[in-house]
Every structure is written in C-alpha cells, then in structure tokens.
Symmetry: C2
Subunit: 151 residues, 2 copies
Amino acid sequence: MIDRNKNTGFSDDRAADLHEAMELLFFSYRAFTAGPDRILEKRGLNRVHHRILYFVARQPGLSVNDLLSVLDVSKQALHIPLRQLVGMKLVQNDKSKLDGRVRELRLTAAGRRLESRLTGTQQLQLESVFADAGSEAEQGWRKTMQLLAQD
Amino acid sequence: MIDRNKNTGFSDDRAADLHEAMELLFFSYRAFTAGPDRILEKRGLNRVHHRILYFVARQPGLSVNDLLSVLDVSKQALHIPLRQLVGMKLVQNDKSKLDGRVRELRLTAAGRRLESRLTGTQQLQLESVFADAGSEAEQGWRKTMQLLAQD
DNA sequence: GTCAATATGTCAACAATATTGACCTAAATG
DNA sequence: CATTTAGGTCAATATTGTTGACATATTGAC
C-alpha cells in the first residue's frame, strides 16, 4: 500500500520529487538575484529599481501605468524608486506627444549602462547554466517555465 | 555582421532568448508564490513564516542555526516570525537532549496542517505544469534548475 | 573546575518599505 | 462643460529589516 498525502493524493515518492522541485525554485531564484543585488546595493538601489530598469530597457517609451501592470505594485510603491531613478538621471520621464497625460519612460545612457551590467550578469549566469545543461534541457526548462509563468 | 552586446558578447538573438529566460524566472516565481501568499495573508503570516514551516516540516528537529543557514537571514530577522509561529502553536521549540544549548524545531499538528495546505497548493501547481510539459521537459527543467541553484 | 566558545533569545534604535486613503493637476473624451 | 484617465504627491501607519549590544545556558578545552 502506497502512502498518499491526505491533501494532494501524491505518493510519498512523488511528493518528495515535488518537494525537490519547490526547493529548486527557491534556491535558483535566490542564486539568480544575488548578483544584481550586490551591484545594486553599492548604489543604494534594490530589486525594484532593477525591475524598473529592466522593463523600461526592454520597452523604451513604456507608460507608468504599463509599468505598474507588469510589476504588479501600487502606484505609491513604484513612485519613490522611480523618482530616485529619475533623480539619478538613469531614467527619463517625458510627456507623450500623442497623449499629453501619458509619460514615456526611457533609460538615459547611464541607465542603459547600469541596466546592461545588471542584466548582463544574469545573462552570463543563465548562458553558463544552459551550456552545462545542454540545449535539450534548456528547451524542456523553457517549456516548463512557460506553463508555470502563465499560471 | 551580427550585432553583439558590448558587455556580454551575445548576439541580439541570443540576448533576446536570455531576456525571455529572465522573464520566465520572474513571472514563474511570482506565480509560484501567489497561492500560498494568499492563504498566509488571511492569518497575518508571510513568506518567511512559510519558509520556516516548510523547512521545519522537511526536517523535524532542525536547529535554529541550521534554519538560519538555509534561509540565509539574520537571527533577528528570523526571530520575530519564529516567535509568532511558536506563539500560535504551529511550531514547537524543544531543548535538545543531546546538547542543551540547541533547540529542536518541530511542527505541531496544527502546524503540519497549515504547512501541508501551503505546500500542497504548490505541489498541485507544479504537478499540473509537469503533466502538461511532459516528463522529458520536466527532466530538462530539473537538470537546469539544479545547475542554477548551486550557482 | 575555570574559562572560552557556542546556541539561543531578546532589546533598542534606526532605516527602509509597503499600504491606504486622500487630494491635486493636466489632458483627453463624450 | 462634465467626466474620466494618467500621473504625481502627501501623510499616517504598519511592517520589515539591520546593527549592535547584551544576557543566559550549556559545552568543551585545558
């Protein structure tokens, strides 16, 4: 008789596999954010600043509302770090010509340099992992993460 | 001539793939923590409480020092949430018989119920993702995450 | 047995962050 | 012109984290 968890109905073996998967997510995410966190700390910045820099870099001209949506934070929680980035001249905040209410966020040259350094750290880390894992494992990883992300 | 990033040397195409991977990690982790976070919030608990419950559940009798090590937080940052869990009778904190300085942390029956509910949410989520992705993708995912986690 | 080291618990001061709710301007839209 | 939308800001409050100090009990080295 296989023991099964009362809540989930998984066998003990499968439950252990899933525990391992949970831990992989926890430790991987921590390893993934550690590098940029160290760089940011020296400038008095944190992970929220990184996320702003990242998404603005990917989509120059992004509106404040769109940024709020991807980051899933409140306007007030976004505003202080955003204002700091603008104050440090890493991000510029221009009025849109199409709709004067909307602001278009862009990185300055200095912002691009910092973002590129932060993101570069993570890209090199991931590339090294993918190289070791092999492209088949990479594809399986991507497929799995796609499903988890859209959950 | 392929454009290459100044910092990393990646081609634009590969850089875009790596950007996608970064976003997968960000959005996946968020999706993965959302379920438990909602359950915890109702009890005035947060992710740190969940991590304590999780690791104590996996390793009953865990010492405070060992818990500090896995979680990688300061003693002071751990203590308030831990004391709350003990106060709520979800965790018990007994003196070790082998070494009277060491405390052995264990979940109470109520602690096990809560932990099982939180962890069950994530197990079901992962199992559903793995089922959709297929076992080959799951294996690739695990291999990749192992490498990233030990980074 | 004395003394240093270890494991834990706690406090206080402080800084950083998040949350809620309110209020304001400017611009677009019907 | 009235309403809605995008954005910006403030204040009050709560939560969280950080640093440093200090206390106790217990072990282990000598």
